[in-house]
């Protein structure tokens, strides 16, 4: 999962590509102005994009930002009790 401070950023890029006639990673990368490796890293939750790139990807799919990305705050009290 992509880490960002005290929460997790998850995304639906793979699902959205599927619903866009199985858009290829290369096609999405080209339209969002990044490399295919960055799309792969995002799909595997190894990279959390900048806000600008997140908006560009949402624009490519023509959906609101929160349909592509979601933020899950991590409960610190749960985390510390699990340690």
């Amino acid at each position: 999962m992509g880490k960002s401070g005290k929460g997790r950023i998850t995304n639906n890029i793979r699902k959205l590509r599927f619903f866009q006639d199985e858009m290829t990673q290369q096609e999405l990368a080209k339209r969002a102005g990044v490399t295919r490796q960055t799309i792969i890293a995002m799909e595997q939750a190894r990279y959390s994009p900048s806000l600008e790139l997140a908006f560009r990807i949402a624009h490519v799919f023509d959906v609101p930002l929160d349909e592509v990305f979601s933020y899950e705050p991590v409960d610190e009290s749960n985390q510390s009790s699990n340690k």
Partner: protein
């Protein structure tokens, strides 16, 4: 392996080879009792000239070879764009390299405080610059592989 990872690996190999050449020469000078400022500064000159020439040649050769292989394998024009993730990884690698170099500078200054000759200080500086480059490239490779 992506284009960026290949490029970093080539840089890493260059750094290790040139650092190896430098170290071998320093060890040889110490064994032959010719470790003096005249010899060491001419070695410095040779190493820096070598580093510039080899880096330029290897960047050109890597790009040409990568473009040819990519074209043959995918039948597409290769793209050499650098996006925000590449820039972030580059920055993190540079930060790590800077940390190692700072330690080297500290050790070099400490050698003067401890009364070592200035040649030791100069050698610590050049060794830490090589070590920082190598560490920076290894951390870039790590960030490409593991993510962050």
């Amino acid at each position: 392996m992506t284009y960026q990872e290949k490029n970093i690996t080539v840089f890493l190999m260059n750094n290790i080879l040139i650092f190896g050449y430098y170290l071998t020469n320093v060890v040889r000078m110490v064994q032959e009792n010719s470790f003096n400022s005249l010899n060491i500064f001419s070695l410095w000159g040779a190493v820096i000239v070598l580093m510039i020439i080899i880096t330029i040649i290897s960047v050109i050769v890597t790009q040409i070879v990568f473009a040819i292989i990519h074209q043959i394998k995918t039948n597409e024009e290769p793209t050499f764009i650098e996006d925000e993730r590449d820039k972030l990884i580059e920055l993190r690698g540079t930060r790590n390299a800077y940390g190692v170099f700072s330690l080297g500078v500290f050790a070099a200054m400490l050698s003067l405080v401890l009364g070592q000759p200035s040649l030791v200080m100069f050698n610590l500086l050049i060794a830490s610059s090589f070590a920082s480059e190598i560490f920076g490239n290894i951390s870039r490779l790590y960030f490409y592989r593991r993510g962050f």
